[in-house]
Symmetry: C2
Subunit: 346 residues, 2 copies
């Protein structure tokens, strides 16, 4: 029973005194094979422990039944929910998934793209690294008409699809919420504004200010990578502002949590002195004190949508290029950190 040679359709064919082609057909449930033979072949295959050879098939069919994923950073709560969404759909539809990790580096992203291309994935779902600007590494896919779906960013590549949330709207909603709470001097802490998702949230922030005729003050916008150190520094800068802002919109929950801690450490009350709203709906938001108001980031749903769309494209259900952007609904989650005017959301 151990380490025996692999069973092939030839073995089954010989065993049953039929031709390999018949076996091949039968295994695909081809109706041109008589029901009897089909049944017999299925039984023998199972009994002999046959398993089809994926690469022989791939070699023949020029397709791998595999989706490649380029994750901008695996070490990221948002990312893992996206991945689990992709995984789910891929599993349901018989695709395998190869996941690569760009670790926030555009250079690594390019390497990953090449790697996936080499592996002849049937399609790609990519989330771009923050500093990714070039699109050259996607050219091979485009030339071979391998479908590309971008998550959480618009690539600018024609014929590619993007699954996104409306970041501008989210930024607008978050900021408006603060304004409704009575904030008039609202700071914004954001990672690298070269990254679309952040610049759009920033736009939303600006829109909300404009709409409420709150003058824009450049000194209120702080750029800080979502690390502990950078976020702490941003918090310090905010505390140094005169007069102190009465609200802060932070583009990610982790940074928001760090800011809140920093504020509290310095005797500034949240939301009493400063109302804070974050972004993502990380689990962290429910555990810190005060609990964090935030914008929900529907990662799993985005992953599912991206995968489903890609699979449809691969199976020919959707015309390539007929859909260029899928926008997933988000919602505001109001908790304690932003409730300045005392009304409880419940």
């Amino acid at each position: 029973m151990d380490n025996q040679k692999e069973v092939t359709i030839y073995d089954i064919a010989r065993n049953l005194k039929v031709s390999p082609s018949t076996v091949s057909r039968a295994l695909k449930d081809d109706p041109t094979v008589s029901k009897k033979t089909r049944k017999k072949i299925f039984e023998t295959a199972a009994q002999m422990g046959y398993r089809s050879n994926l690469f022989a098939r791939s070699l023949r069919q020029q397709s791998t039944s595999t989706i490649g994923v380029i994750a901008f950073d695996l070490n990221n709560g948002v990312m893992s929910s996206i991945l689990s969404g992709i995984e789910k759909i891929a599993n349901e539809t018989g695709y395998g998934v190869i996941i690569t990790d760009s670790s926030l580096s555009a250079a690594k992203e390019a390497l990953n793209a090449e790697n996936l291309f080499q592996r002849r994935v049937d399609g790609v779902i990519a989330s771009l690294a923050p500093d990714s600007k070039e699109r050259d590494h996607f050219k091979p896919f485009i030339e071979k008409h391998i479908p590309l779906v971008f998550i959480d960013g618009v690539s600018g590549i024609p014929d590619s699809t993007s699954v996104i949330i409306d970041n501008a709207m989210c930024g607008y909603i978050a900021t408006t919420h603060l304004i409704e709470q009575g904030c008039r001097r609202i700071a914004h802490v954001t990672p690298d504004l070269r990254h679309d998702i952040y610049s759009l949230r920033y736009e939303g922030y600006l829109d909300a200010l404009r709409e409420n005729e709150i003058p824009f003050d450049e000194s209120l916008v702080l750029t800080a990578a979502p690390t502990e150190e950078a976020s702490e520094e941003a918090a310090k800068k905010i505390m140094d502002l005169k007069p102190l802002p009465d609200g802060v919109f932070v583009s990610n929950d982790f940074a928001a949590a760090v800011c809140i801690r920093s504020f509290l450490d310095h005797g500034i009350k949240v939301p009493g002195d400063v109302a804070v709203i974050g972004f993502n709906n990380d689990v962290i938001g429910k555990l810190i004190s005060p609990t964090l108001s935030t914008v929900n980031y529907p990662g799993k749903e985005m992953g599912e949508t991206a995968a489903r769309h890609l699979v449809n494209q691969l199976k020919g259900t959707v015309n390539i290029g007929s859909i260029s952007t899928l926008t997933i609904r988000t919602d505001l989650i109001v908790r304690q950190s932003s409730l300045k005017n005392g009304k409880d959301p419940a």
Copy 2:
């Protein structure tokens, strides 16, 4: 330039008037091919846009240069750090990674194993689902001598390797730390004790009690899945205990954070009334108040170790079976939540 037929070594061969084998060899930098020819072949290959066909090679070589990963849950901070470690090593050594997600279900784990087997991965790194008991789904790998590395759990499968931390020791250290802080009535909150890692931590807890001649009280041990609801309930049960425990060892940081929040909400001081220590060193621990003492879980290092070991095995550097367990060093991280006797760790 668009959608042209794939370039093969035959095209290169024809172009250069050499044989395909020479091309094949040259591309592998085989020294039996003259330097000149090699160089010429490399150049032409690049210029013609050749990319090697992985499945043709796989078909020939009976190996895929791919590592399969079975993740017990992608939605998990610990898991993503493990994955990024695996990814890193795989990338460095020219392996691809196929990641599958068991979503905490043993049934899905079995499906994933089958999927990876179908895909003929060269080796597997698996973290077992909490309720995984059967090992039958790994039998195909064993029969084909496909190396198996388990992360964070011992499979009981001969010839497989496990990369673990010393959970018993960690439990012991965490509990001892509480005892050193003056705790004498220490509760333990743990997920499913059927899962090795938790039962071992529990053992460590018991050992520490024993060593310090603290009588064991069964009512102090609470089982709770690491969800918000269950953790909250566990916290409530602890608060109902008479007398109130003066320390709690929680087997994961998230649950610990929930417990602390619950304690504080009910006017119980942490660490004043109850000292708390968690497990994993999630980012959350630094952001809650009080900051959370914990045991560091070296996920990335474990992933790297597992992958490196697997690759060594695949490349024949290590004898299969010569190493059965690799234990990664961990350390205690003391923050505020456990500091009952006022000595600051700094």
